[in-house]
């Protein structure tokens, strides 16, 4: 029998790659007009993001294990702490195990920071960039800003900031997201249940004909965002946001946490969660923590999935159509 010839062809058409190149150029022009500096940061770092939901790829070198970055966040923040001002990185990042029509383990990310801005101001700029990149195929209506709480409550009738894990689990089963037995097997914590409900019932409805910015996340999902205490007995929220168009999540951003001690605590908590789940713990980025201790200027930052933007801009159904050689043909 003859061995099949390996499929060496690109999955994207030439037209798609021409359009993609134009989107990259437009992105850089957008940043240049606004005085945001393009910088390059190392892809291989001795440290890695301890977030238990991110899996870094490790590379063995003669100088020890290095980790391919899951975002350029840490070195960009070191530049901010060094006083370099507004900056961005546009390049490849890696997240192991994420493969699907909207996920690639190797993908292109645009991440930028604005000094002196809060998340609200950065959300407006993000929406402007997305609209510019998606035009002319998508003439988007004015962007909307919705709180996580309102979006969740409107669709599921439950307050995500106050409902306990039992009520969320009941809702998962009542809505048919999963069977009771499966839910038990999944052993999700409270945030896991919120994620299950959001990814099934909230996210797909966001961003119909416009950019929807989902903001003020539960404090337990703060990641690297500042937490804003609630007033009059209201729960605290994280000053974090995500952008959606047509149910596709395109970006995640923060009003950045600048407190080195709190950042270290969050990293250590993430590593403890990793250990509890039997995941390897990650070496903390001591250089980032030292930079934060030195002083990070008040700022907001956001990471945008460039391939997904290209997919929407070209009206493609999968990422493979806008990537020359996706993971399966790399």
């Amino acid at each position: 029998m003859m061995e099949p010839v390996p499929d060496w062809h690109p999955t994207a058409t030439r037209d798609a790659l021409v359009a993609r190149a134009a989107l990259l150029a437009r992105t850089r022009a957008f940043m240049a007009e606004r005085g945001v500096l393009e910088v390059e940061v190392p892809a291989l770092s001795v440290a890695a993001a301890p977030d238990p939901h991110l899996a870094s790829l490790a590379v063995v070198t003669t100088a020890g294990t290095r980790h391919l970055h899951t975002s350029p966040e840490y070195p960009l923040k070191r530049l901010l702490a060094a006083g370099f001002g507004d900056c961005y990185a546009l390049g490849k990042v890696w997240r192991e195990g994420e493969v699907g029509s909207r996920h690639q383990p190797e993908f292109t990310m645009l991440e930028w920071y604005r000094v002196g801005w809060d998340h609200r101001r950065l959300m407006a700029e993000l929406a402007e960039l997305i609209a510019a990149l998606l035009a002319p195929r998508h003439a988007l209506a004015a962007p909307e800003v919705v709180s996580y709480r309102d979006a969740f409550q409107a669709r599921l009738g439950l307050d995500p900031l106050r409902a306990d894990a039992g009520a969320l689990a009941e809702l998962c089963v009542a809505r048919g997201a999963v069977g009771a037995r499966d839910l038990e097997r999944m052993a999700l914590d409270r945030d896991g249940l919120l994620d299950l409900l959001c990814s099934h019932y909230v996210h797909p409805t966001l961003g119909a004909g416009r950019v929807t910015l989902l903001t003020d996340f539960p404090a337990s999902q703060c990641a690297l965002a500042r937490i804003r205490p609630g007033h009059d007995g209201e729960p605290a929220v994280a000053e974090r946001f995500e952008a959606f168009v047509g149910g596709v999540e395109l970006a995640n951003g923060y009003h950045e946490l600048a407190d080195a001690a709190e950042q270290r605590q969050r990293f250590e908590r993430a590593n403890r969660t990793r250990a509890d789940r039997g995941l390897p713990t990650m070496p903390l980025d001591e250089r980032l923590l030292a930079a934060l201790a030195h002083g990070l200027p008040a700022c907001a930052g956001v990471a945008l999935g460039f391939d997904r933007v290209a997919m929407l801009a070209l009206g493609a159904g999968t990422l493979d159509e806008v990537i020359a050689f996706p993971w399966t043909r790399a």
Partner: protein, 188 residues
């Protein structure tokens, strides 16, 4: 058997779940920006043929199912079991009537069939899409009918199957039948 994690669940992969073998139809990775990732999976139960939609936590694992698909030659029915032979190894295997199901009415000795084996036991037998069978009984066509058609009539085939055939088909003719629809295709 190997253990497969959600990221390995490609279409066509055969896995075990709750004691039944399944074939993965579709596997979509769903992940909120940050936080827990899930896989929404469509999978076919190979025993019942039913398609199931299920959400898994990314990283969940399922054991592989020992499923083999192979072409076998039908030999005979001993009154209970259907016996098949591998055309190259001459290995013989017996299938339960439930595995053969409706397909039994198309089985003619020496014809090839597709067998789905689970742990070496046939769980489904699929006849060739088209089989050629002899008409053992049918009423003669009304005089004046031609190959241009104009009605049909029942015909009993050598395997016991009954199909509708055009009026010009006679006893003793061989006909080609589509086993998926149970319909007459042509005279053979």
């Amino acid at each position: 058997m190997a253990v497969y994690s959600t990221s390995d669940w490609k279409g066509g992969l055969k896995v075990m779940m709750d004691g039944d073998p399944y074939s993965i139809v579709e596997n979509e990775h769903v992940k909120p920006g940050k936080g827990q990732a899930f896989n929404r999976v469509r999978m076919r139960n190979l025993k019942t043929g039913r398609i199931l939609e299920k959400t898994f936590k990314s990283g969940d694992t399922l054991e592989g199912a020992d499923i083999v698909e192979a072409e076998y030659q039908y030999m005979y029915n001993d009154g209970t079991f259907f016996h098949f032979m591998h055309p190259e190894t001459f290995e013989q295997i017996a299938a339960n009537p439930s595995a053969v199901g409706e397909g039994s009415k198309w089985l003619k000795e020496n014809d090839n069939c597709n067998l789905l084996l689970w742990n070496g036991v046939p769980m489904a037998v699929t006849p060739q899409p088209h089989v050629i069978l002899k008409v053992t009984r049918c009423d003669p066509g009304v005089k004046g009918d031609t190959a241009r058609g104009g009605g049909d009539k029942p015909a009993l085939l050598e395997t016991g199957a009954e199909v509708r055939v055009p009026l010009f088909v006679n006893e003793g003719d061989s006909v080609r039948v589509d086993t998926r629809t149970g319909e007459y295709v042509s005279r053979a």
